[in-house]
Amino acid sequence: MIALQGVGKRFANGTEALRGLSFHVAAGEFVSLLGPSGCGKSTALRLAARLLAPDSGTIAYPDGKPEIGFVFQEPTLMPWADALTNARLPLDLKRLPRQEADAQAAGALARVGLTGFERAYPRELSGGMKMRVSIARALAARPKLLLLDEPFAALDEITRNALGDDLLRLWREDGLTVVFVTHSVGESSYLSQRVLVMTPRPGRVHADIALPAGRDTRLSPGTIEAQRGISDALSTAMAA
């Protein structure tokens, strides 16, 4: 689905965010990009969406550029528009006929459990609901590749867990490919099939950990075991 090879990126202020970052994600995978704050995870995700251009290396979509959905750390909604209009934004930008777009956006809202809130404005919604609208917006254009940049970092644990379970369900139902940026070992151990542990800045992949099955809940022995492996890798990554 997507392959990064030897990607480097330096910002205008001289900070080197990434150096020699390489990884690939196959179609249908759920991959977490895990690392400490400031290791360039978000930059890597923006590069993957081609919102940024790399200074060196390549970013390729072997099966052709897929439809991409992007979810930011903040809900990033249009405060002047209701939930339906927010979810419809990608379809409006693609100039879909209004009726079709409305139906598709309403469907996306329904899939994140927001039926009945189509006419609600962002300020009337809780943090978790706003994030649901944001996810609905990403789903509205029926993406193949879903990129999430620490989407639950600003939410309380209960909401975070509920949204995590929803994300898993959507991934299974749609056969999505998901790249999930996080700094939470717990989240990555439960949600993903594979965890890419990144080094501190300039970031690159330190460990590529495939997680076995048997992680049905957040407290399953398999999940706990996975957390141990990820934590160890993170420790060595921080020391590297």
Binding site: F70, P79, W80, A81
Partner: protein, 261 residues
């Protein structure tokens, strides 16, 4: 209850001040050419009602035309600036120069260039110059304040510049633009009045001219009547623009939301 209080208290102050004024003028026998009593002003207003209303219409026409012109030009310029940083860097200093140069100083030039036979056009241009800057500043700030991530989303979905402008940048700019428009509404009136003063009596026919003329003839009561109409017009413009602002922002902007849910 709160609404009644918000209206009643200022009104009470007005009545007290007018009453004290009326009493003081009568008690100390103040000559009418120094300070006419409120009753005399009301009488002057009634006696000259049709001519004062014609003068008001003239000034109001200039003000509204200037305000509309300033809004269109200000927003258009701000949009041009938002599309080209180079253009903004090149031209913004001149917008500032236009703003800081006292309009009284350039008004005679404009009157000469446009010609006294087209006096209303000249007045409108002068008032437009006065009202232009807050609109430009408000719109420019707003267009630049768009959420970077939302802009990134429009890029992700291959939106055109026009779509980004229409769907993201302009709605983002609305609150600061409206705030600029509220300032500009009052400035357009001030600009119209200043322009009339500069044009002098005989050519302009607005309220400012009535003030100059009444002053020359020592008809101070009429002067006050014209002044009261000007003040009322200014308040009305501000109220109308505040209403527009509330109506456009009522669903989403913190400034317009009174009852928190």
């Amino acid at each position: 209850m709160r609404r009644i209080r918000d209206f009643a208290l200022p009104l009470l102050v007005a009545l007290l001040v007018l009453g004290a004024w009326q009493w003081a003028v009568a008690h100390w026998h103040v000559p009418v050419y120094v300070l006419p009593a409120p009753s005399a002003i009301a009488k002057a207003m009634a006696d000259n009602f049709s001519s004062l209303m014609a003068a008001l219409a003239s000034t109001l026409t200039v003000t509204v035309e200037a305000f509309v012109a300033a809004t269109v030009l200000g927003v258009a310029t701000a949009i041009a600036f938002s599309q080209s940083r180079l253009l903004e860097r090149t031209l913004y200093p001149y917008a500032v120069i236009l703003q800081v140069t006292p309009v009284v100083a350039i008004a005679p030039l404009i009157l000469i260039w446009v010609g006294f036979e087209r006096i209303n056009l000249a007045l409108t241009i002068i008032a437009t110059i006065v009202a232009f800057f807050p609109i430009l500043a408000g719109a420019t700030l707003g267009l630049k304040s768009a959420d970077f991530n939302l802009i990134d989303l429009t890029r992700l979905y291959g939106a055109s510049r026009l779509q980004t402008l229409w769907r993201i940048r302009l709605p983002t700019a609305l609150p600061t633009l409206l705030s600029g428009m509220k300032t500009a509404g009052g400035l357009a009136l001030i600009g119209a009045v200043v322009a009339e003063f500069v044009a002098g009596s005989g050519t302009a026919t607005g309220l400012a001219w009535r003030i100059v003329e009444s002053g020359n003839r020592l008809e101070i009561a009429t002067l006050f009547a014209a002044l009261a109409l000007l003040a009322a017009t200014g308040v009305l413009i501000f109220a109308a623009l505040s209403l527009l602002e509330w109506w456009l922002l009522r669903r989403w902007h913190e400034s317009a939301i009174t009852n928190r849910s």
